[in-house]
Amino acid sequence: MEGERRASQARSSGLPAGGADGESPGGSAPFPGSSGSSALLQAEVLDLDEDEDDLEVFSKDASLMDMNSFSPMMPTSPLSMINQIKFEDEPDLKDLFITVDEPESHVTTIETFITYRIITKTSRGEFDSSEFEVRRRYQDFLWLKGKLEEAHPTLIIPPLPEKFIVKGMVERFNDDFIETRRKALHKFLNRIADHPTLTFNEDFKIFLTAQAWELSSHKKQGPGLLSRMGQTVRAVASSMRGVKNRPEEFMEMNNFIELFSQKINLIDKISQRIYKEEREYFDEMKEYGPIHILWSASEEDLVDTLKDVAGCIDRCCKATEKRMSGLSEALLPVVHEYVLYSEMLMGVMKRRDQIQAELDSKVEALTYKKTDTDLLPEEIGKLEDKVECANNALKADWERWKQNMQNDIKLAFTDMAEENIHYYEQCLATWESFLTSQTNLHLEETSEDKP
């Protein structure tokens, strides 16, 4: 039955189970960043100053990044992802492909905001179609995250990029900021898609497929803002109780999370500082080469040597630029995501503690017979189940998260090392060829002098 449906869908859209056709239904958008920014310029709404100083962290080049089965960041059409390498821990082929691109600015009388285009391609039966295109704004992503946390309190929900960047933000809709956010949102959705449980979440499906008005009406159905706020207050109060009775393994987990959070934050700061220093080095180097050209104008006998030195310095300059961009593509986003993850994890721990606290308070009530105890045993039974479920869910997800984290970190740092190696190799080649040319010249000269 399912196979039939899949086949019929495959025929209608040309999306085969195996073997790609190369069709790109959504119109090819290999560099969403560039087309997105032209869309922004057309909107003519905001001054899009390229304010480098504020967000020098992320490079403006939306160049292609490494393919990684655990963190698909490449903003190409989902169709090309069919040829991706298989996941290590997921034997099935991916059947849900999501891209986030084409940021667009919208102006109303009250506010200005950005929407992102989300294209989903899937072969799953539960989806009405095999392809969807919707537009979502950051608020919508926030809503989705909230729903996921509600439905799966002890699963590790992927983090969203920050609402605002605190440090010296002048313009909310700076090009760099938008691009960084877009990449992070893309990652967010794909991480959900890769998660064995979250990928089947109903709200997730609605997020990906519903038209704007459908989504608004769906959103209104959930518990109201006030009740959610009330929940948060209760949660904070009771989570303290849960900490006392926390099982050993979760104590260990909590310790890890605390330390990890410290360390990853430090690494984030260090990495951003390195980028800043490299940028400043690059800025100075740009001035360095030309001085040698200037000098060559007054030195007849040293013209060639000086010009060659200037050329070498300029080439090293370009290599530095490339290294910087590599850092901002490969390392910085990954480290930053894990900074946000560490915050998430602490939230997860709290929610687990809260669930346990609920159980504990009922048990306490039963023990001390404070209230009417007739219904308590039944409630306690349910809560015990709930706690067990929550704990198991967290444990499993924890292992998965740790595995992912190790792979992501390992890859990111390996890439960084690779960038540096490449940088030094390029500079080495430049200077070595200069040296060779100088010694060749000298040998020529000395051989001319000889009788």
């Binding site: 260090i270 390195i274 100075e284 200037l294 000098w295 390992k410 090392a417 190799e425 000298h442």
Partner: protein, 450 residues
């Protein structure tokens, strides 16, 4: 071979010195490693032996620096650095060196020597001293004159200074220079006794004063422009280099923080722990490697600085020529006006204004005897003037000829030295890149094993 004005009082006959240590040797050695068979050092020595015809070979080195305290002229305690100068004579046959002289000098004595040379060899581009205070500093630390790194670099600079003089065909034969190397006590008095300070043209000190020369020698004008350009461009280069060094230091040192954090992180990681820890170690190595790299680069900066200061020496020669030319023109002008006066007196026509002529007009003619007397005086002055002008002209031509010969010598030296400096810079960069590749390859291996 230039014929230098030999002043038997100032120059040693026969000169016992034949310098062995060539300033180019240090520069050439670096290239020698990378460019096998280039034979740089040989060509340096050839140039020198070509200029030398003395008896013994000597080696000069400034081998040590020591902090001293003493009392200055105002009887106040001061701290200064003294430098040990050792002179060795090298036997031809077995190449063994014997220490012949060893004495301590401080920077101010070097300055005294140079000021003396500037006065007595105005046509020579006198080698400059290393800077008195650290300039173009890239890192706040080394701005201190007592900083050991600065002292060390100054020691090398002073040695270089002495070697440059010793390898100069004319300067090396100077007696005061010889005594500088050999006579510890009383040397200052000996120098001052030469009375060179009185000889020094005070006008040279007035750097901003311009002397309008009617017929400037184009070659010297061009040379002055060149020296200005050289000074400007090298200053600029050194400034930017210092900034680049500063930034590079930042990049390297920040990576050191990874080392510490990785190490702490590895404590909570089971599988990743080892990889993190060892990668962190490599980050530390990377961060600390910059210190040596920048120390080497400082030597390169010093090589450029020498030529920055040489620009000043070039300008000094131009200035002296300018003054000479000015004096010559003044003397010629004076002579011409006297001749004219004489002629007017003889013929009775007054074309030029003179006070005597005015008073004569106002108060009556002078007697023929008076006029004769005046003519006689003028004729004597004219004779004297003509003699002076002749010798000034001769002096001027000698100066130009000798100066230009030294300038040619200087140009060749400069081209050689700067080229070698640039090559040594490339060598340094190559070394830095190789170290970088090594460290990051190691780090990458650790990361991939995590």
């Amino acid at each position: 071979m230039e014929q230098a004005p030999r002043d038997p009082e100032r120059q040693l006959q026969p000169a016992p010195l034949e310098p062995l240590g060539c300033p180019d040797a240090g520069l050439g050695a670096a290239v020698g490693k990378e460019a096998a068979g280039a034979g740089e050092e040989d060509s340096g020595v050839d140039t020198m032996t070509h200029n030398n015809f003395w008896l013994k070979k000597i080696e000069i080195s400034v081998s040590e620096a020591e902090k001293r305290t003493g009392r200055n002229a105002m009887n106040m305690q001061e701290t200064y650095t003294a430098y040990l100068i050792e002179t060795r004579s090298v036997e031809h046959t077995d190449g063994q060196s014997v220490l012949t002289d060893s004495l301590w000098r401080r920077y101010s004595e070097f300055e005294l020597l140079r000021n003396y040379l500037l006065v007595y060899y105005p046509h020579i581009v006198v080698p400059p001293l290393p800077e008195k205070r650290a300039e173009f500093v890239w890192h706040k630390l080394s701005a201190d004159n007592m900083d050991p790194d600065f002292v060390e670099r100054r020691r090398i600079g002073l040695e270089n200074f002495l070697l440059r003089i010793a390898s100069h065909p004319i300067l090396c034969r100077d007696k005061i220079f010889y005594l500088f190397l050999t006579q510890e006590g009383n040397w200052k008095e000996t120098v001052n006794e030469t009375g060179f300070q009185l000889k020094a043209d005070s006008r040279l000190k007035a750097l901003n004063a311009t002397f309008r020369v009617k017929n400037p020698d184009k070659r010297f004008t061009d040379l002055k422009h060149y020296s200005d350009e050289l000074q400007s461009v090298i200053s600029h280069l050194l400034r930017v280099r210092a900034r680049v060094a500063d930034r590079l230091y930042g990049v390297y040192k920040v990576h050191g923080n990874y080392g510490r954090v990785f190490s702490e992180w590895s404590a909570i990681e089971k599988e990743m722990g080892d990889g993190l820890q060892s990668a962190g170690h490599h980050m530390d190595v990377y961060a600390s490697s910059i210190d040596d790299i920048l120390e080497d680069e400082e030597h390169y900066a010093d090589q450029l600085k020498e030529y920055l200061f040489y620009a000043e020496a070039l300008r000094a020669v131009c200035r002296k020529h300018e003054l000479m030319q000015y004096d010559l023109e003044m003397a010629a002008q004076d002579l011409a006006s006297k001749k004219q006066q004489c002629e007017e007196l003889a013929t009775g026509t007054v074309r030029t204004f003179s006070l005597k002529g005015m008073t004569t007009k106002l108060f009556g003619q002078e007697t023929p005897e008076q006029r004769e007397a005046r003519i006689k005086v003028l004729e004597e002055q004219i004779n004297e003037g003509e003699q002076q002008l002749k010798s000034k002209n001769l002096e001027g031509r000698e100066f130009v000829k000798n100066a230009w010969a030294d300038i040619e010598r200087f140009k060749e030296q400069k081209n050689r030295d700067l080229k070698e400096a640039l090559i040594s810079y490339a060598v340094m960069q190559i070394s830095m890149c190789k170290k970088g590749i090594q460290v990051w390859t190691n780090a990458k291996e650790c990361f991939s094993k995590m």
